[in-house]
């Protein structure tokens, strides 16, 4: 079977936010120079899910696919070093500054071009915009079934069986292939690249496709195709009026806090 994992490069989401600047005029988040660019963690877990399917004995070719400028090649390399077989880079000046709708259209066109894709995996949301739209969008555009927030993904004869996280438990859901599954952090940690796979990664094939390769016109892929208008981007103000509870001992601190709670009628 052929599994396509859609991954996105993001600035290290674990970095302290002081490493970022928000330019409210240009409506852009600017990471400090030198801040590491990484594969979005949920996407890394989506690739982990694909690798586990192969580890469980399925004959699977795993393709990592990403969209962005030439500089995002690094996330494909990381995916190949984790164990994917090949990569697809979707890069075109027209793809810059898109929204989730446009991204889903480009990815769907690329997955369609691969022709033999059985399972599309991606993270539940990207760690920069936190939207969680593209996976469902690909499924709707390609008219595939979709299962979101997976914590376990297994492939059986012609179908995928997923444990889907809900508020107070999980659902077990089965869908016929081809299908899209979005992966949540409950899946568990993704593996680190092994030395052996890292060595092999350099020789694995990476295709680079432009809008023209995908048969997309300006109206399908360019800024004109975007539906979202970013009106404003800002850092929310902190409340910043914290009263530190004094006390020479933990007993005093505990007592003083209890007093405050009672005065505020919270006890």
């Amino acid at each position: 079977m052929h599994i396509v994992v859609c991954v996105k490069q993001v600035p290290n989401p674990e970095a302290a936010f002081s490493m970022f600047k928000v330019d409210e005029g240009a409506k852009r988040v600017i990471p400090a120079s030198g801040l590491q660019m990484l594969m979005s963690p949920f996407d890394e877990q989506a690739l982990e899910a694909a690798l586990r399917i192969r580890d469980a004995g399925a004959q699977a070719r795993i393709t990592v696919m990403t969209l962005g400028a030439e500089t995002v090649r690094a996330v494909l390399k990381h995916g190949l070093a984790m164990g994917a077989d090949d990569g697809v880079l979707l890069s075109d000046p027209n793809f810059q500054d898109g929204d989730a709708y446009r991204t889903a259209r480009v990815l769907a066109a690329a997955i369609g071009k691969l022709a033999d894709c059985d399972l599309v995996l991606t993270g539940r949301q990207a760690a920069d915009w936190d939207a969680g739209i593209v996976g469902c969008g690909i499924a709707e555009l390609m008219q595939m079934p979709v299962i979101t927030f997976a914590r376990d993904v297994r492939v059986e004869e012609g179908s995928v069986r997923v444990e889907r996280v809900v508020e107070n438990g999980f659902d077990v859901i089965e869908a016929p292939l081809p299908a899209v599954v979005t992966v949540s952090n409950e899946l568990g940690a993704a593996r680190a690249p092994s030395l052996r796979e890292t060595m092999r990664a350099a020789r694995k094939p990476v295709a680079a496709w432009t809008a023209a390769d995908l048969g997309l016109k300006e109206g399908d892929a360019g800024t004109k195709a975007a539906r979202r208008i970013l009106e404003r981007l800002f850092v929310p103000p902190k409340k910043g009026a914290c009263e530190l509870i004094e006390g020479a001992t933990p007993e005093e601190q505990g007592f003083n806090l209890a007093q405050r709670l009672r005065q505020a009628k919270l006890l």
Partner: protein, 326 residues
């Protein structure tokens, strides 16, 4: 000018509209400015429909099958799409739950609309909807609008007030049959955790633990305080990922959104992705050994110290104060 006809996707719990559904009806009424407010509730029976009307719906769409109240992605997407078309809505409001976050993007693509997820503010200006949502791990807010005729939004809990329940309000109920042929992904099993009498989302007091608990035993200490305050215990992402507690306890951007009267954050640094799930709590108390933790910027009261000592003394003090008050 109003934002146009509005449909709220209504979720039920034990046959009743959830708190978040009631909040969405409140928001819907505010945006509708007299235009009809529809509630699309696949599993609504007569009683649930009457409740939705009492909380602000002018028209309730139901599939007429109470069994449809359990979320089924394909059935709901096709059914809600049919209801939205019938209502000729230009705005669809959905709760930011695991169901809503699954349904809303599908619906938007199917109906050729715009989509914003996890919104905390929805306003209307000049006939266009402006939606504000946290991004970059909760550290940044973006306000977006759309060029499309239809906009679908998922909204987080605790951002809007429900209307007063008004049992004498009148409205109509319209039945649209669900299409079983729409189902491709089948739910084979629904596993639910038992226990937990009060849901985190509905709790008046939440005690949450983070990495600073240094181990699963820490949750016993928080549990003792929760019993004292009649609260519910939650967690930030790290303890869930480390297996100290179940993921169902996770509060934050990718977990639950809580809006209690009192939120006691223990050993939690206050990263944006956590605050996105609790920033709307009325009163935040931070207990942390690190006096520089960013949680103090969001808190009303802060205690710097070891929670293992502070929480037992807090419990003792609460008992003492309550005894004096009697």
């Amino acid at each position: 000018m109003s934002a146009g006809a509005i449909t709220v996707v209504a979720e039920l719990s034990d046959g009743q509209p959830t708190g978040l559904t009631r909040e969405l009806l409140g928001l819907g009424q505010r945006l509708a400015r007299g235009a009809p407010l529809c509630a699309a509730c696949p599993g609504a029976d007569e009683r649930a429909a009457a409740e939705l009307i009492a909380y602000g719906a002018d028209r309730v769409y139901t599939s007429g099958e109470p069994s449809a109240s359990s979320y089924d992605s394909d059935i709901w997407t096709s059914w809600v799409a049919a209801a939205v078309r019938k209502a000729q809505s230009t705005v669809v409001l959905v709760g930011h739950t695991t169901s809503g976050a699954d349904l809303a993007p599908r619906l938007a693509f199917r109906l050729d609309g715009g989509i914003a997820t996890g919104c905390i503010e929805v306003t209307e200006e000049g006939g266009r909807l402006h939606l504000t949502r946290p991004c970059y791990g909760g550290n940044v807010r973006e306000t977006v609008s759309f060029t499309t005729r239809l906009v679908v939004a998922t909204v987080r809990g605790g951002c809007y007030d429900a209307l007063e329940r008004e049992p004498r309000r009148t409205g109509e109920t319209v039945t649209i049959g669900a299409d079983p042929a729409a189902r491709r992904a089948c739910v084979l099993e629904r596993q639910r955790e038992s226990g937990g009498d009060v849901r985190l989302e509905d709790a008046r007091v939440v005690i949450a633990g983070g990495r600073g608990l240094s181990g699963p035993e820490g949750f016993d200490v928080l549990g003792a305080l929760a019993r004292e305050l009649d609260g519910v215990v939650g967690a930030s992402r790290v303890p869930c990922d480390l297996g100290w507690c179940p993921h169902s306890m996770q509060i934050g951007l990718t977990g639950k959104t809580v809006t209690p009267e009192l939120y006691i954050a223990v050993g939690i640094s206050g990263a944006g992705h956590h605050m996105a799930g609790c920033g709307n709590a009325r009163n935040i108390v931070a207990i942390n050994t690190d006096a520089e933790a960013s949680i103090y910027k969001d808190a009303r009261w802060g205690v710097v110290g070891d929670y293992r000592k502070i929480i037992p003394s807090l419990i003792a003090a609460i008992r003492e104060i309550r005894a004096m008050d009697k």
